[in-house]
Amino acid sequence: MATQNTRALARLMLAPSVGLLLIWMIVPLAMTLYFSFQNYNLLNPTNVSFAGLFNYQYFYSDPAFFQSIWNTMLLVGGVLLITVVGGVALALLIDQPMWGQGIVRILVISPFFVMPPVAALVWKNMIMHPGYGVFADISRFLGLQPIDWFSQWPLFSIVIIVAWQWLPFATLILLTALQSLDGEQKEAAEMDGANFLNRFIYLTVPHLARSITVVILIQTIFLLGVYAEILVTTNGGPGYASTNLPFLIYRTALLGYDVGGASAGGIIAVILANIVAFFLMRAVGKNLDK
């Protein structure tokens, strides 16, 4: 069907996207890689010299580095745990027969559309504030001492906020997958005497497995980059208690003016993201063949 002419045209149509993305991928990354081997501080921009592996060593020997890696893992892991378990439960619940299902869906999905600074500030000030927040009001109502969330549990507080933002995403995707489960299969299992637990383990979970994988991988990509939520709530503190890798790099880069150090951190972030990306690409690629 395709003639020489249309094939040339097709290539021409593809060229701008490919060209832009190619530049986009190579130029900044090459610059980061180059800077990571240089002594380069914005406060002293004329004095740039080759640093070898010094920046990596420096980043590696910074105690904040391991804490930030650990915090990144806790943040990603914590949010994934809450959103996947909560998402399956919520999807199962919403999938049941009820009145006003459409509105329930809309209410549940809404947090996903709230921009990160709004989500974080609303939680920080109106929900978790130790003096005036709703949690404090509930504590006082129950006769308990209100918790100062962001100084006592800084990272956990951020996990809660981010989980609130991503729970809708997991729920929506798992619900979509659930609704594609064959109703007749369910009925057949029911008639054969399978109870709810058995149906869940042998029918629902295997059916959802693929979607859960997709949810985990996509969320991980985004969760590795959590930034604004930390900026407007704890600013990484107290100390480094809620500093994740992106936030540490930001601190090094734009607060410490250390281009070399921040770039070394950036390369480490790229390596981390690539490990996840590798699995995500395989999951998505498999689907493309169908």
């Binding site: 069907m1 593809l14 947090p111 109106m126 995707i173 604004a228 930001y250 390369i267 790229v270």
Partner: protein
Amino acid sequence: MARAVSTRRTVFFTVAAWIVALIIFFPILYTIITSFKSETEAIQGFNIIPSGTFQSYIDVQTQKDYFKPFMNSVFLSVGSTFLALLISVPAAWSMAFSPTKRTKDILMWMLSTKMMPAVAVLMPIYLIFRDFGLLDSRIGLMFMLMMINLPIVIWMLYTYFREIPGEILEAARMDGASMWGEIWYVLTPMAVPGIASTMLLNIILAWNEAFWTLRLTTTDAAPLTAFIASFSSPQGLFWAKLSAASTLAIAPILIMGWFSQKQLVRGLTFGAVK
């Protein structure tokens, strides 16, 4: 035929689901409620019935010039989405209708560019923007947002275009349609819904982007994400005003989001879940 569902069961699930849904929605609801309170009311403990004042909305405009960041958000999200569509419609089109052996590899490669952590290229981008005088410029940021969403736009369009049957093209050709006629009269009407949903999702993503919009702007080009983030400073702790600004910032996108639930699943999973 689905089996009959007992009313008792329905009532139980209705009550359970509504309670959970309202808890999840509560922070948004409470923000909207607080935006109609006065500043003193806002910190007087839990109260879901506001006095109904619009003062905070007026203050946000008169004291903080809300309209400027709002228009920046509109410009950036709509502008970057249109720019992305301009580049990606032809690309997705050509990959969907004239696929080659390499099409799959190209698509996977495009997706992989989305995996790059923003923070890893913060320094080079910042320096490039500084040297070209693009810091705090709307054009620079618009280009930035276009680039980060371009892979998603191409992927979404591709999954939509691929569902348009190729036979319809051949039929049109048999009937003597020229190539442009083919594109204009046959394909365009079938592609419009896919393009529209892609557009919607990407306006949402661009509107809520909160890394580059915070780092590459100071005042002139600052959109709502940066505007709201400025409320985090201690002297900015005015909850009714924060609520009013937040309500205005999320309302348009919330409504758009409600309409694009289905496309959201498809777009954000790159077609892996439909």
